[in-house]
């Protein structure tokens, strides 16, 4: 199993935890990525999580479910989950699950991830 996302990839700045995921975000990789995201979502200092999907090759339902868990962790404290760089297929999957109503989705790849804006 190859997990290309690791805690080292994430960075925390001014209450915003930013992370860029790589490769498939699917059943085989979700357990490891989930640890990183839920770990960040539990931190008091984290007000917002930004995830860049521009290097993600595939997102499946387990990945979407993991995003819901992350969002739940943040929403309890009034935090937000922002996604960017999603492929059209990934966006359609999120829309099909009607979760575009709770996630904040930005079109441009990497928007706001690198510069924390």
């Amino acid at each position: 199993m190859m997990v290309q996302s690791s805690p080292e990839n994430g960075s925390l700045r001014e209450g915003i935890f930013s992370i860029q995921l790589h490769g498939p975000v699917a059943m085989a990789t979700v357990p490891e990525i989930r640890k990183v995201l839920l770990g960040a979502a539990k931190k008091r200092a984290v007000k917002e999580i930004r995830i860049d999907f521009s290097r993600v090759s595939r997102l499946d339902t387990s990945g979407v479910a993991m995003l819901v868990e992350t969002w739940r962790g943040l929403a309890r404290r009034g935090g937000a989950l922002r996604l960017s760089g999603l492929s059209e297929n990934a966006k359609r999957l999120i829309q099909l699950a009607r979760l575009d109503q709770i996630f904040e989705i930005r079109d441009e790849a990497g928007s706001g991830i690198e510069n924390g804006s």
Partner: protein, 278 residues
């Protein structure tokens, strides 16, 4: 699927059936079947009851033994798969059987969770959310805690499809999706099958005798009769077919029954059945 210059989408055959013959108790039920299943397409296999379409499906999902060389998956010979290769192939499949095949002792959500608990390392919470997403997809978000016996026939069918989708299968086999459903529910299921192809890029094989549904969803149609393929092509090509049996099927004309009156009367009279009356 790959994109060629000029943006034409080219679909490769994910599954190739090459000269499949099949028997039940010594009686041949499939005769030299040849066709391909293009990836990310909906292929509909249709024909009257007993034409062999469900047997064909059982071969393709590995439930009925196939001789080497008769079905290829990604260029690999299904008939030569060892146990591990067959398990690995089945993990790529979702199957909705005609009956729905739910476990009656479990709630609908628990039913959907079964394959995820068996085949993945996902947490219970992730699995619960995945089950809810699948149920919502099928319009059953409110019914996860229900037992299958508490659902209507149409809802059980949709719950069965939710379970077939649990593992985000690459290939989905659906046996008679519309049977026993009212027209509105059946149309909703057809729309969902189209959405699964378009959104998740699934390769879908539907077995049905429902004409309206078949033409609504098919990219490619295969018409079977008495264990043989009568015609194969796009919906337009099938509509234009001049084959007498295809026309009979499309126009829903009843068979002229071949009645063996002598044999019937012999049985009625309780006489010894003659050779011709068997």
């Amino acid at each position: 699927m790959k994109r060629e210059a000029g943006l034409r989408m080219v679909h490769r055959d994910l599954i190739e059936v090459c000269g499949l013959n099949s028997h039940y108790s010594g009686r041949q039920v499939l005769f030299d079947i040849h066709f391909g299943i293009p990836d990310t397409n909906i292929t509909v296999i249709m024909g009257v009851s007993g034409c062999g379409k469900t047997t064909l499906l059982r071969h393709m999902i590995g439930l009925k033994r196939t001789r080497p060389g008769q079905i290829m998956v990604d260029g690999q010979d299904l008939g030569k798969f060892n146990e591990e290769e067959m398990r690995s192939y089945r993990r790529r499949l979702g199957v909705l059987f005609q009956s729905g095949a739910l476990f009656n002792s479990m709630t609908v959500s628990q039913n959907i969770a079964v394959p995820l608990k068996v085949h993945t390392r996902l947490s219970d919470e992730t699995i619960q959310i995945m089950a809810l997403i699948k149920l919502n997809l099928l319009g059953l978000a409110e019914f996860g805690a229900f037992m299958p016996s508490q659902l209507s026939g149409g809802m059980r069918k949709r719950a069965g499809l939710a379970r077939a989708l649990a593992m985000d299968p690459e290939i989905l086999f659906v046996d008679e999706p519309s049977s026993g459903l009212d027209p509105i529910t059946a149309a909703g299921l057809d729309r969902l099958i189209l959405e699964l192809r378009d959104t998740l890029g699934m390769t879908i094989i539907v077995v049905t005798h429902e004409l309206e549904s078949a033409f609504r969803i098919a990219d490619r149609l295969i018409v079977m009769d008495r264990g043989r393929i009568l015609a194969a092509g796009s919906p337009d090509e099938i509509r234009a077919s001049q084959n007498e049996r295809v026309l009979q099927f499309l126009e829903r004309k009843a068979d002229t029954a071949e009645v063996n009156t002598a044999g019937y009367l012999s049985r009625i009279k309780g006489n010894e059945i003659t050779r011709s009356g068997r």
